[in-house]
C-alpha cells in the first residue's frame, strides 16, 4: 500500500508576518499587508503596490558570506526551512541524510540578484556586451537557480533527492505535491518541501504592467488586492516563502510527532490554451480537483473549505468559480471559499505553499480566513467568499488550488490530523 504523507513542521516568511504565528494572526485579523512599493521608486510603473515582507536577514542569523552569496529568495527559503525543522521536533542530525530530500518551488527565483548584477554589468543598461570586470563570482548561481534547493539541502543536511519545481504560479503547490510523490514511492522518508519567491523588482513589476495583470489602485494600496470583488483590477505582486517538514504517516505517528495535517491527494493539469489566458469554463482546474479528490478517496461533499487561488484578476475569479461548480456541483455553493491573496498579495511561485500553510492553520484552528476588501458583489462570482471577517468552523478537509502562467492548474486536498485518524 502506498505510504501516507503528513505535515509535521511549518515555517513561514510572509508580508505582515515572519513566522507561522504572526502569519496566522494577520490572516485572521482581516488586516492587509499590501502597501506602496518601498524597495525602489515605483512612480514610473503602472502598478505601484506590493506586499513586501519585513525580512531582516541579519536578524535571521545569516552571516556575511551567506549574505554575500545568497539571493533574497534563498534566504527566505532557508529561514523557513529552519523554522519548519525546529517546529517538527525531528532530530535531523540523527536521521539518515540519504533518506532526507528537498523539493523547492520558485517561479522567478533570483530575480532580485539578477537585476542588481545586470545594472552593474551593463552600466545601467547602456552596454549590450556587458563588462566582465564587474562580474560577481555568484552570477552563475543567479543564472541557474537550482542553487536555491541546494542551500536548503545544506541547511538541513539532506542528501536524498533534491528538486526545484518551477511551474510559475503553481510552483508552491506542485513542489509540495512532488515531495508527496517522493515519500509515497519510497525515494525519501522525510522531505523539506515548499517554495520561495521575492519578485518585487523593476523587471517583474514591468512585465506584469505590460499585460495589465497587476492592480493600478495606487492611491489605496492597503485595499488594492480585491479577489472576487466587483471593483478588482488585477493582482498585487508579493514576496514570501513557506516550507514544510513532510514525513510518512506511520513514522510520524510512531515518534509521537505533532501532526498538523495529512496530504491525501494532489493533482495537476494543463489547459493547453494560452500562456497567460484562461478559458471561462474552468475545465482543467475542475479536472485537477476531481483527480485530487479521487486520490484522497474524498467526496466533493466532504470539502469544508476551499482556499482559493483568488488572484484578483477578473479572468481568474471567473475561471475558478466555474471550476468549483464543475468539480463540486451544488456543494460549491455551500462551501466557504476565500483568498488570502487579499491580505498577503500574490507571491508567484511561493503563494501555493503559503496557501497550504494557511489551509493547515485553518484546519488546526477551526477558523476560515476571510477574503479582505470584498465589498462589492460580482454577478460572475456567486459563491460564499467569506468577506472581511474570519469565520469559526470545524474543518476536517480543505481543498487548496492554484493556477498559473503556462496553463498549470493544480489542486491539493488537506485533511486534519483528527480526520486522518492521528488524534485519539
Amino acid at each position: 500500500m502506498k505510504r501516507r504523507v503528513v505535515i509535521t513542521g511549518v515555517g513561514v516568511r510572509a508580508p505582515g508576518g515572519n513566522g507561522t504565528r504572526q502569519f496566522w494572526e494577520l490572516l485572521t485579523s482581516g488586516r492587509t499587508a499590501t502597501r506602496r512599493i518601498s524597495f525602489f521608486d515605483p512612480s514610473p510603473y503602472r502598478s505601484q503596490v506590493a506586499a513586501e515582507a519585513d525580512f531582516d536577514p541579519v536578524a535571521e542569523g545569516f552571516g556575511p558570506r551567506e549574505l554575500d552569496r545568497m539571493d533574497r529568495a534563498s534566504q527566505f527559503a532557508v529561514a523557513c526551512a529552519r523554522e519548519a525543522v525546529a517546529a517538527s521536533g525531528l532530530e535531523f542530525d540523527r536521521l539518515d541524510p540519504t533518506r532526507v530530500g528537498v523539493s523547492l518551488g520558485s517561479a522567478v527565483a533570483a530575480a532580485t540578484s539578477l537585476e542588481r548584477e545586470y545594472l552593474l554589468l551593463s552600466d545601467s543598461g547602456r552596454e549590450w556586451e556587458v563588462d566582465a570586470d564587474w562580474l560577481s563570482r555568484h552570477m552563475f548561481d543567479y543564472l541557474v537557480p537550482s542553487v536555491m534547493p541546494a542551500e536548503v539541502a545544506w541547511a538541513v543536511g539532506a542528501e536524498g533527492p533534491v528538486a526545484m519545481v518551477s511551474n510559475g504560479c503553481t510552483s508552491g503547490l506542485d513542489s509540495v505535491g512532488h515531495a508527496v510523490r517522493l515519500i509515497e514511492e519510497g525515494s525519501a522518508d522525510v522531505m523539506l518541501a515548499g517554495a520561495a519567491d521575492t519578485p518585487i523588482t523593476p523587471i517583474v513589476v514591468a512585465c506584469f504592467d505590460a499585460i495589465r495583470a497587476t492592480t493600478s489602485r495606487n492611491d489605496d494600496p492597503e485595499h488594492a488586492s480585491r479577489p472576487f470583488d466587483g471593483t478588482r483590477d488585477g493582482f498585487v505582486l508579493a514576496e514570501g516563502a513557506a516550507m514544510f517538514v513532510l514525513e510518512d504517516y506511520d513514522s510520524a505517528l510512531a515518534r509521537g510527532a505533532h501532526i498538523h495535517a495529512e496530504i491525501p491527494g494532489y493533482a495537476t493539469r494543463c489547459n493547453a490554451y494560452h500562456m497567460t489566458g484562461l478559458k471561462a469554463d474552468g475545465r482543467e482546474m475542475a479536472e485537477a480537483i476531481r483527480v485530487a479528490l479521487d486520490e484522497s478517496r474524498t467526496n466533493a461533499t466532504d470539502i469544508d473549505y476551499i482556499n482559493a487561488h483568488g488572484s484578483g484578476t477578473r479572468q481568474n475569479d471567473r475561471h475558478e468559480t466555474a471550476a468549483y461548480k464543475r468539480a463540486l456541483g451544488d456543494h460549491a455553493r455551500r462551501t466557504p471559499v476565500s483568498s488570502i491573496k487579499s491580505m498577503v498579495g500574490h507571491s508567484l511561485g511561493a503563494i501555493g505553499s503559503l496557501e497550504i500553510a494557511a489551509s493547515v492553520l485553518a484546519l488546526e484552528h477551526g477558523v476560515v480566513p476571510p477574503t479582505a476588501n470584498l465589498h462589492t458583489s460580482d454577478p460572475e462570482c456567486d459563491l460564499d467568499y467569506v468577506p472581511l471577517e474570519a469565520r469559526e468552523r470545524k474543518l476536517g478537509t480543505v481543498l487548496t488550488v492554484g493556477s498559473g502562467f503556462g496553463g498549470f492548474q493544480s489542486a491539493m486536498v488537506l485533511r486534519s490530523a483528527e480526520a486522518a485518524g492521528a488524534v485519539a
Partner: protein
C-alpha cells in the same frame, strides 16, 4: 509496465536532427567554435557549442516567434520532431492522457536580457507583453503543452546539468501514475553577452581556443568545459499504450532512475554519485555486471573527473566497463545535456557501437576507467547507464535497456 522511449528530437551544435547528430558523434565531429552572436573576443573564454544551422521560421509557427527565446524555439522544434518520430498524433489521443515534463536551467535568458535592456534604457512601457512568460523556467513545458494540446500532468524542473535526467525520471513517474504519454527532456541556450559572462562566472568554463582540445573530461589536461546550446526532447510511453496504438518500434526502455545530493561542503561525508548509480541499478532490477556502457557526466574539471572516476570504479571495478563522453563534441548543454546523452546511449544500444570521447588523448592511470578514445568501439550492448551531475551537488543516473527483440 515498462516505460519506453518511442520518439526523439535532437537539436545539437553538431547536428540538427537525430541522423546528422548521430553521424557527427560517431565520427567525433565537433560542433564547437568561437561565439559569433556578439564580439566574444573581449571575454576570457570564446568557445561554445552554437547551433548555427537553425533558422527558426522554418520550424516554429510565425506567431510564436515574437514571444519566444531561442531556447524555446529549439525546444518546440525538438518536441515536434520527437512526436513525429514516435508517430504519435496528439489529435488522436485524449488531451489528459498526454503530459509534458521538461527541465530548464537558464530560462529564456537572451529574451529577458533584451527586456532588461529595454526597461533600463527606454523605460517600463517598452517591456514586451511576452516577457512575463518568455523568461520563466516553465516556458518550454507550457509552450509544448499548448502547441500539441497536452493537458495531462506537467511540470518543469531545475537542477543545472542533472535536471534533464530528473525530468525523464519524473516523466516515467507520471506515466506510472496513469498518463500514457509524456513528452520530456530539456533544452537550454544562454548565448547572449550577459548569459555568456554568467556562465563564465561559474569558474569552470574552458579558456582554450582549439575546439578539439577545449573540453577534455578525464584527460590529464582537463581545464574546464565548453558551454553549448540545445538538447533533446523525447516521447516516453507506457508499453501497453504504445502497443495499443500500434507503435511496436521503440528506442528502448527507461528501466531505472535515481537522484541523490552531495553532502554539504566540509561535512566529510562521501559524495552521492556512487549511491545514485547503485539506486538506479536497483530500481532497474539489475546489477553492475549487466551494464555494458557508461555515458559519464564528464565535468572536464580534474577534481570532478577524479570523483566521477572513483564512483564508477567503486561500482564497476577498475576498467570494469567502457565509459564514454560524446558530449565533448557539443559542449555541456545544462538541462539539455542529460536527455541528449540518453538519445546517444539509445542509439548506441540500437547499433551496438560506442561513440568515442572525441578530443581526449591521455587519461591518468589512477582514474582506472576504460574511456573509449579515438575511434568508436563495436560491442554487443544491452544496457547503458547515463550519468549527470548538476553544480552544487546534484547527481542523477538513469538505466536504459535495448528493446527486446520482437518475437
Amino acid at each position: 509496465m515498462s516505460i519506453l522511449i518511442t520518439g526523439v528530437g535532437v537539436v545539437a551544435p553538431n547536428g540538427l536532427g537525430l541522423e546528422p547528430y548521430w553521424a557527427a558523434v560517431l565520427a567525433g565531429r565537433f560542433g564547437l567554435g568561437p561565439v559569433t552572436r556578439f564580439d566574444v573576443s573581449r571575454y576570457p573564454a570564446t568557445l561554445a557549442g552554437q547551433i548555427d544551422d537553425f533558422h527558426a521560421p522554418d520550424h516554429v509557427p510565425g506567431r510564436l516567434l515574437p514571444q519566444t527565446d531561442p531556447s524555446t524555439r529549439l525546444a518546440l522544434t525538438a518536441a515536434a520532431w520527437a512526436l513525429q518520430d514516435a508517430k504519435a498524433d496528439p489529435e488522436s489521443l485524449t488531451d489528459y492522457d498526454m503530459g509534458v515534463v521538461t527541465a530548464n536551467a537558464c530560462g529564456g535568458f537572451d529574451f529577458t536580457h533584451r527586456e532588461f535592456r529595454k526597461l533600463w534604457t527606454e523605460g517600463p512601457k517598452s517591456v514586451s507583453v511576452y516577457e512575463s512568460f518568455a523568461w520563466f523556467y516553465a516556458v518550454n513545458t507550457g509552450q509544448i503543452s499548448i502547441r500539441h494540446g497536452m493537458r495531462g500532468p506537467s511540470s518543469a524542473l531545475v537542477a543545472e546539468q542533472a535536471g534533464g535526467l530528473d525530468a525523464l525520471a519524473h516523466a516515467r513517474r507520471t506515466i506510472r501514475r496513469g498518463t500514457p504519454l509524456v513528452v520530456s527532456g530539456g533544452v537550454d541556450s544562454a548565448l547572449d553577452p550577459w548569459g555568456w559572462v554568467s556562465q563564465l562566472a561559474g569558474g569552470r568554463v574552458s579558456t582554450a581556443t582549439d575546439p578539439a582540445r577545449a573540453y577534455l573530461p578525464f584527460d590529464e589536461q582537463a581545464a574546464g568545459y565548453v558551454p553549448g546550446e540545445g538538447g533533446a526532447i523525447l516521447v516516453l510511453e507506457d508499453s501497453a499504450a504504445a502497443e495499443a496504438r500500434g507503435r511496436h518500434e521503440t528506442y528502448g526502455e527507461l528501466a531505472g532512475c535515481a537522484s541523490t545530493f552531495d553532502p554539504a561542503p566540509g561535512s566529510g561525508r562521501p559524495p552521492g554519485l556512487e549511491r545514485a548509480i547503485r539506486l538506479a541499478l536497483t530500481d532497474a532490477g539489475l546489477g553492475p555486471e549487466d551494464v555494458d556502457v557508461v555515458f559519464a557526466d564528464g565535468a572536464g574539471v580534474p577534481e570532478l573527473d577524479a570523483a566521477e572516476a572513483r564512483a564508477i570504479g567503486q561500482v564497476f571495478g577498475s576498467h570494469g566497463v567502457p565509459v564514454t563522453v560524446p558530449k565533448t563534441t557539443t559542449g555541456r548543454l545544462y538541462s539539455g545535456g542529460g536527455p541528449l546523452d540518453v538519445v546517444t546511449a539509445l542509439m548506441s544500444l540500437r547499433e551496438g557501437v560506442i561513440p568515442p570521447t572525441a578530443g581526449v588523448r591521455s587519461v591518468p592511470q589512477e582514474y582506472g576507467i576504460d574511456l573509449v578514445l579515438g575511434e568508436s568501439r563495436t560491442a554487443p550492448l544491452r544496457t547503458a547507464l547515463v550519468l549527470a551531475r548538476g553544480r552544487w551537488g546534484f547527481n542523477s543516473a538513469v538505466v536504459l535497456r535495448r528493446p527486446e527483440p520482437t518475437s
